[in-house]
Amino acid sequence: MLSQFIFSGLALGSIYGLVALGFTVIYKATQVFNFAQGMLMVCGAYFAVTASIHLGLPFPLTIAFILVGAGILGIAIYFLLIKPLGGQALLPMIMITIALSIILRAVIELIYGGAPLTLRLPLPSGVFVLGDVRISQLHVTAAVVSWLCMLLFIVFFRRSRAGLLMRATADGYEAAVLSGIRVDRINAAAWAIGTMLAAIGGVFLCQLQLVSVELENIGLLALPAVVIGGLQSVPGAILGGLLVGLIEQLASGYISPKARDIFIYVPLLLILFIRPWGLFGQKELGRV
């Protein structure tokens, strides 16, 4: 049982981690605490529906469509909503993402209707049997792809010039502009990447269940994940996601599914008390 829970927890956690990573990328670049991250994930699922069902594209093109669509969406959000609000206080920035999620939900319901849709992508759906552990191939695929995406992102973030400029901008805004970095482009790119990561997570979640705007609520589990990991930390987001996935499965399995929220949020409170900057975040030195 335990190994089973751990495995499914890690698989789910990988998806959460992916969405949380997207969240962190956006946060690092623009300091926006994105409550719409769950809805961006849903957009990914609906992009898949558009490409696969409405346009009838083959699978590889569907993937390309999702990525391009999510990228454009992220850039549009940055220039239309985030930049005009630039530099405002915490709460308006949170609120604009909430407004964004209301708008996206309405648009999706207008286009696709409120009823959940079924989407079948050619992803493996069988089962591996290892001893007495039965592993869903979809789970494995989700985990593997999530890890690949995370790895890809980290390589991009660590090795490429765009990633370097992104890290530099996150490190210090003023120093970045004084080094000639076109910060707007970098921020827009961060939103595009954050949206893409969420969209990929959305594609897997809608394969686990239905394509529906209600997936948003699952995507919102990325929030506690990033806080547990530390808002600014890329590995923290991934580990936070894994931790949330594990807690969810273990709490549901051994105690009660109702206990899940408690087992996520009580430790979160404790972590905030003991390490207010998250498990992997960096302490910021207070200056007067």
Binding site: P92, M95, L269
Partner: protein
Amino acid sequence: MSNGVTAYLVRLRHNALPTTLRVIGVAVLLAILLYLPYVLQFRSIFGVRLSNMQLLNIGLSQVNLTLISIIGAVSLNYLTGCAGLVSVGHAAFFALGSMVAAATGMHLKLPFLATLVAAMLAGAMAGVVAGLPSLRVRGLYFVLSTLAIHFIVVFVFAEYQYAFHDVTGVAVGDAKIGSFEIDSGIKWYFFLLPITVLSCLLMRNTLFHREGRAVLAMRDNELAAAAAGIDVRILKLKVFAFSSAFASLAGALQAYYLSNVAAEMYSLNFAIQFIAIIIVGGMGTIGGGVIGAIVWLLLPSILMGAATEVKSGPGDFASFLLAHRPQIVNLIFGSIVALILIFAPHGIAGFLRPLWQRMIGGLPWRGRT
């Protein structure tokens, strides 16, 4: 007390309209507020019937619920706008208020008004607990700690509900004062109106006195406030208790108004709606909370009413609009919030104030006071 009222009026007179006009203004406002429930109940003004759209598709029930929400919104604005403590866990205190009102009514057999007081006390105590993280963490991390509080309270509520009450919710008793039962929309209105006005005034009054002003100072600059001898830690907890007490009062009133509440009602969206209210209305002012609550609760209804009226127009488009009314209303609504955030960052109240001042400023009596 009368001394205080005089001082209060003196302060109001500063920078405002002459007394006669003020008295007339207040009288007119009072008259409107007193006559409003009859207009909404009987759908007519002075015996002349009005159509639903002429009354903006608004009913008495909505007004009553708006009054309750005003208490909730103003209390959040006190916490977030006045004290600078951003909370997304305000629904937790609503839930707590309704739970305590139901529990003290059922288990202790307390009368209606006593349960309201109990709810406020419980809210204040829970507020202190919820405020504890503010001593340690700030900014986003604090926001998240309030989110955690929200989930924990709702969990406790659900457990309590399933253990002691019906699965469909917690039934609260009748709203009875002595043998007088508040059982109609109009009675509720006249019960809620003074409570709401009083709650707003109580919160507002603090801002003109020693410690309430210190709350504003703490929001603007915590270090400078400390340098003036203000113990910001204790003050934060006090503000939390004060604001949560009113939020719990609102929760208890809502529970009585609906007569049955379920833990599921207090979702994250419920909490977020209060944040939206104070942002739309305007942060840090009592008026902002009031205007925000009115707009947030009544605007969708007005939009919905207007959407129903749009029956003409190009056939396909009109039928598309009609079939997707809720979505279109939500779309317009979300866009309005985004536009307010971008173009009127101080909310509707902040947007109206200069207009109002310019209007008064342009009047001939301006120079006199």
